[in-house]
Amino acid sequence: MLKGLRTAETAMNIQMNRTNVLANNLANVNTTGFKRMLTQVTERSAAPNDQGLGGGQAARAVPGNVRDLILDMRAPIDMTQGGLRETGNSTDVALQGEGLFKVRRNGEEYYTRSGAFTLNDTRELVTMEGDQVLGTGGPITLPQGELLIRNDGTIIVNGAEAGRLSVVKFDDPSRLRHVGTTLFGAPDDMPAQPLGADVVSLAQGVLEQSNVNPIDTMVSMIAAQRAFEMESKVMQTADRTLDQAVNKLSSRA
């Protein structure tokens, strides 16, 4: 009996976490370069519950054996392209298709899809947080003058080449982790692979918007909320059954 209660509890916890992830997606619906997290709930049976029905190998052969249901939630990062918004700002760049920009914060390297760059007081190209944007030869310092960023990431100031934005890709981008401030961190066993100039496609004066789709997210949120309510009914039913068993049965005795 308690199993029903526990199963409902697990399910409610998962719907709660799902709502939290969806809330974060919605909060970032206008965040440049934000990549939404998907919520995937999977169910699978655990090993047969030996204690439940008499135990041992024999119990497993009984049809209709009660098994624990294990619910899992995964929240992989969805790297699909976000919409593009024209800003006309010369230090704004947007990647089209595959790739991530490389930035350095406190000596560590991170990756981002947000090309909302600016300059600092020494004219280094930095993110809005002040982290250095890395080129193929390290941090990029721009001379004064008219800035042009070519489709392949080559930076040209006053007609002279001033560096090239480093654009990388990963074998399995869904394994990246969010570290906040629209940066991603990569696990140690998944090295960044530089993308060649022939495959990089970026646009200057444009920003990539969040890839959160408000309709999808809202629908998922309603679904999560209703599933949560449903599981609460399961819990109440389990509670009532226990009530019957404990209070009504014992009162007849």
């Binding site: 509890e9 697990t10 916890n13 998962i14 719907q15 709660m16 976490n17 709502t19 939290n20 992830v21 969806l22 809330a23 974060n24 919605l26 909060a27 970032n28 619906v29 206008n30 965040t31 440049t32 997290m37 655990a46 294990i70 619910l71 899992d72 939630m73 995964r74 929240a75 992989p76 800003t87 006309g88 700002n89 230090t91 600016t118 300059l119 600092n120 007081d121 020494t122 004219r123 809005m128 947080e129 004064q144 003058g145 982790r177 969010h178 570290v179 906040g180 401030t181 629209t182 408000p214 997210t217 809202m218 949120m221 309603i222 909320q225 949560f228 309510e229 609460s232 109440q236 509670d239």
Partner: protein, 261 residues
């Protein structure tokens, strides 16, 4: 559960600032030399959680990260050239390209401005509409009949009774910054130097990458109304979405409350 509520609250706060920025841009759509701002957002820190019900030693990548919402990271000023308006007043100046006029603020410090609608004060000094002196100061002689400001910032006058000789009375210098986007808006069409902007470099208009000066023209605001209105619609809808998250979270909490009869 409460996390979804605070996450949504951070989203509502961010969109509110977004609307504030847009409202200020729209309010200044006709302000001479105004430069539009755009609110930039970033996501907040993430927390890794292990979902309940997971078998130990599970090889599946079932890590779940839950974010805490969104934050405002910058209101990024955009120094693109504003629209040009011809006024035919020789004291109306416009910088074509990079560079700021320098003005002496009442506290003695220097401010930087793109607003070149200069006037004369009682001592016939060039001042801004707010009465701040142009730096370096330029005085127009009492008996000047015609004022001419050249593209390199040289101010010359024709004196009464002498129509053949032009007399130079000063030079306008322009300032530029390593990172103009880092300047601090003071109000009154004046920007102030900040640690993010770097040190100003002064030079003659037209040299060292600075723009030239056009007399008889004003630079209007660079706000584009259509763009701002589209941003406003998107900000308002995002605000509503986050409000809906809060009510969903609220209803879920109420469900929890009803669990125990």
């Amino acid at each position: 559960m409460l996390r979804a509520m605070t996450t949504a609250a951070s989203g509502m706060k961010a969109q509110q600032t977004n609307i504030d920025t847009i409202a200020n841009n729209l309010a200044n759509v006709n302000t001479t030399g105004y430069k539009k701002s755009h609110a930039e957002f970033q996501d907040l820190l993430y927390e890794s959680i292990v979902p309940t019900g997971r078998a130990s030693g599970d090889a599946e990548p079932t890590r779940v990260e839950i974010g805490h919402g969104v934050k405002l990271v910058a209101t990024n000023k955009q120094f693109s050239q504003g629209l040009i308006r011809q006024t035919s007043n020789p004291l109306d100046l416009m910088v074509e390209g990079d560079g700021f006029f320098q003005v002496r603020l009442p506290d003695g410090s220097i401010g930087y401005s793109r607003d070149g609608s200069f006037k004369l004060d009682a001592e016939r000094n060039l001042v801004t509409s707010s009465g701040y002196l142009l730096e370096p100061p330029i005085q127009i002689p009492q008996d000047a009949t015609e004022i001419n400001i050249a593209r390199d910032g040289t101010v010359s006058v024709l004196l009464a009774g002498n129509t053949s000789t032009v007399q130079d009375v000063g030079n306008i210098e322009l300032a530029r910054f390593p990172n103009a986007g880092g300047l601090m808006a003071r109000g009154g069409n004046v920007f102030l130097q900040s640690p993010a902007s770097g040190q100003p470099q002064l030079s003659t208009p037209g040299l060292d990458g600075l723009g030239e000066i056009a007399s008889g023209f004003l630079e209007m605001s660079n706000v584009e109304t259509v763009e701002e209105l589209v941003s406003m619609i998107s900000a308002q809808r995002a605000y509503e979405l986050n409000a809906r998250t809060i009510s969903a979270a609220d209803e879920m909490l109420s469900t929890v409350n009803q669990l125990k009869r």
